[in-house]
Amino acid sequence: MIEPSYIYGLIGGLIIGLAGAVYLLGNGRIMGASGVIGGLVDGSGLNEWRDRLLFIVGLIAAPWLALLVLGIEGETNITSNPWVLIAAGILVGFGARLANGCTSGHGVCGISRLSLRGIAATGFYLLAGGVSVLLFKHILGVI
């Protein structure tokens, strides 16, 4: 059964890939969210601060504008448990920087280049993500 969410997923995915294609063929850079953001946060990418900042402006502004034009509310279904938010945020930020990439860099840009590192990283985070949901949702019941 084809759910509407699969169609939206595919269309949204194609646009995400197009974004990466524009960044690569235009600026010669890999579109990795943790890399673009992390380079500003820790100062390691300050030589390209303008590109990074403008990318982030577009990333925040486009969904805001789209929802405004369509007159609909965005929904994140995010938890309101502050401890979960803090722990998850630290793990995501720390892990992505240690691994030099996240879902966009290693996942989208790495797999499409048949990069062994990208494919391996994706395997590791999918595995850990599955275990995390199993542990925190089904065993501990905190999410």
Partner: protein, 141 residues
Amino acid sequence: MRGIISVSSGALFGLGLLISGMVDTSRVQGWLDIFGDWDPTLAFVLGGAILPMAIAWNISERRRAPLAGGSFPARPAQKITTDLAIGSMIFGAGWGLAGLCPGPSFAALSFGGWEGLMFVGSMVGGMLLAVPAKHVRSAMA
């Protein structure tokens, strides 16, 4: 030129994340929840994203330089390091816990409330903690 490309790419990325439902934490957690009510949407998103990106990599191999000048990124050494494995697993654990990763957390900043802001703030903190950790790791090597 570089600025226009950056803001356009960021805007497309944000729209794609919104349309695909990746800003919805329940969809991401549904994908990871293989022992519960499994949601395959994320596979369509990743598959859809890989297609144009694979074409772009192919084009980049036949072109001398990017449109805005400079050079294309060199292929990094294809070594699966401990940092890559451990970092990815730590990242994955957090991804499953909240259902958010760096891209969607920023794409959702305008409508994610204090919760989204708290996640992003903590993520920035985690990124800063990775700096000394990387120093320690390289000193060990």
